[in-house]
Amino acid sequence: MAVSDEVQLRVQDLHISFGGVKALRGVGLEVRKGEIFSIIGPNGAGKTVLLNCINGLYHPQEGKIYFEKKEITRLRPYQRAQMGISRTFQKIELFKGTTVLDNIRLGRHIHLKTGLLSGSIYFGRTAREEVEHRDFIEREIIDLLEIEHIRNKVVGMLPYGLQKRVELARALALNPKIILLDEPLAGLNLEEVEDMARFILDINEEERWQTTCVLVEHDMGVVMDISHRVMALNFGEKIAEGTPPEIQGNPQVIKAYLGEAEDLYVSRR
């Protein structure tokens, strides 16, 4: 998808500390519409904290967050979700005892217009609405992520790689404008990594979705391959931002990875 110049998500001078630990120290970023924007950095650099601030799980002590020109810093997570901010978690956050389909449906819940009462009668508009949502889930999500064969399986029984895919499916059910992906590739094998990278590209580029992606990831091969821009964090501070080649050549980034410079160039293969 062509990246537009329009800034969709702006984070300004974000500060947050837990006790004496300053997790974020004045971090700012601008994500443009249609972009795959990756955040890299060593463990403990503050990447997940930053995502948590964006979708409202944490409240920063200082700084502002704007989404599509509206300030959202003080909004609750569900309000941000209603605006179209969706996310996946590093540690899978699904309902393990229910089926794949039910988990995805839950992600769709925010779009349900009918209430509890009419839902319990299930007639007319309510029934129609459910069929519409089911149609969306089947056509746009299950087909895209190739999970037809597990739609009725219980999530907890699935292998890890598939659970990660269901996590993504649940996030997509929101029909988001921007999706925050927290280490979607962690713990996957080579084939699953390739699949997941393909899905991220699909979500970003496919005409139907064209969703902005903010990606936190350690797999440098994939990050450098698919990102439009990359930002590097270290100890809660932004140390670099730019296109993948710029980041790969940045001496500060290389230093932050403590001589793991090779990692920046070598993919899993």
Partner: protein
Amino acid sequence: MSRGASWKGIEITKDLTIPKLFLQSAEKYGDKKVAMREKEFGIWVPITWKQYYENVKRIALGMVALGLERGDKVAMIGDNRPEALWTEMAAMCVGGVGIWLFQDSLIDEVSYIIDHSDAKLMVGEGQEEVDKCLLIKDKCPKMKKMIWDDPKGMRDYDDPMLISLKEVMSIGEELDKKEPSLFEDVIMKGKGEDICLLFYTSGTTALPKGALLTHYNMLTMGQNLMRVDPYVETDDFVSYLPFAWIGEQMMSISCGIQAGFTLNFPEEPETAQENIREIGPHVMFAPPRVYEQMVRNVQVKYLDASWLKRKGYEWAMKIGYQVAELKFSKKPIPWYWKGLNYLADLGVHKKLKDHLGLSRIRDTYTGGAAMGPDHFRFFHALGVNLKQIYGQTEIAGISVLHRDGDIKFDTVGKPIPETEVKVTPEGEIISRSPSVFQGYYKMPEETAKALRDGWLHSGDTGFIDSDGHLVVFDRTKDVMTLNDGTKFAPQYLETRLKFSPYIKDVWAIGDLKPYVTSVICIDYSVVGKWAEDRNIAYTSYPELSQMPEVYELVKKEIVKMNKNLPPAAKIKKFINLYKEFDADDDELTRTRKLRRAFVENRYKDIVEGLYSDKDKDNVHMDTTITYEDGRVVNIKADLQIMEVNE
């Protein structure tokens, strides 16, 4: 031939073609009957004969517009789906010749077949097939266009060679508006003796050979099969095995178009088993591995079930086996056995059949490779009418088949009507029928070897027993001579062992050797589950296969089988292989037959180890495996050898 006698088939003249029959059926059924169904987005979507006709018409005319002429070859690759059948039918309609490739074919196989067959058009499902096509296009200059139909991931492709099926259909529609009678006209130009399919046989030994089949071949084969087992238009059939396998063509095309039954396409290959259960087909034809997998599924569930359920199963199966045994020996079944069997069916068999998708099955066949008697007994005990069939691509599918109520495990049955089967003095099976192929494409020498005076020489050995049943030994070169001089088919040992749920593949060795040995591929999921239940930790197939506990488990299974074997045929030593046999490594054909000569060469260290005099208890392996995308990985492993003394 009790049921078949009442079947009124169509008259197959030298003028009749598959497209002409298609035209008749489309006219006859129109909007009133469902021709096929596909599960899409979680729902079974019906396609009526009228829609089928319209789609084929558009594609066919689109192909004409793209420059396809009579006799041009159209290569097709992809999963079973309505579009696949439409394009095949469309190609036939305009006088083209269809070629099917296995979905998982490696690049070299694809480029060999495309180049050798002079294919002008290639039709693929989506991105994966398009990638294959683009990789080989420089090597195959005769290929002009590639048609694809699944838009997923195709957004960045702009090679001028590519065209979507949608576009082809809209070009076809325009042409139809200009020349409304063109479609019918081209169909009417077809003759029965025109070639309609060029079928590349997998071949356990050499390069693939392309068998030329005419409309007449395909139609007579279907008709003669249905003279034995008639299918009706209300039947359901699930098409999920590769179209590149003649068995699927003979059901979907040869029989489907004559009987007019409904074809059902599964959502994804992974959901096939589930989708079969939803449909509950009346007719089924599959290679033994499908049935073996079903048995394995039941056995695994059995191992997992509660005590009461296990007892119930054991009790019902005992009755089922007893009744099946009486049927096999053609003895009358006493009333009390009938009564017990009724109860067993009610309590257990019926539910099992439902889970396997066999609840409505009337005729089910296995063919393409040998299947063990234990598997046969299992299905008949459940009351499933499983029959063996035998044939070749070169005879348009099948020539010999079991009749209802006349089933012998070690035979493949009797020839279908209009088919003569003989055994030459050298023991080779030869056959003659209207369905015998026209020769191999561009291989006159091979043709002369296979076709002599109208008789098809199969290369299989066998004999005809006192009941007139054909017994097939297997490929002549695959029969082994044991140390006591008797001839023995290694397949027998292999199929017997494969009845164990823990064993997925077996390679029995023993030709001109002092004793028989075998190489075992364990079933990863079943043995993996078994290990987990016993708190045995493992990380991968190679590690699991070498666990001493797993060796003991396999040994127990071999001891069980050895009990019923003559001393010379008993397996004395075995080894667990560090991987499963795989068609990508050339160890199996695409239809999953073991390529003995190849594995013998590839694993000669193992064979040596199994027969070394020194008390060797392991073999060092240093070899490579090939992934589906063509990457090759080196593997080093030490494999244990275990002796079996019982």
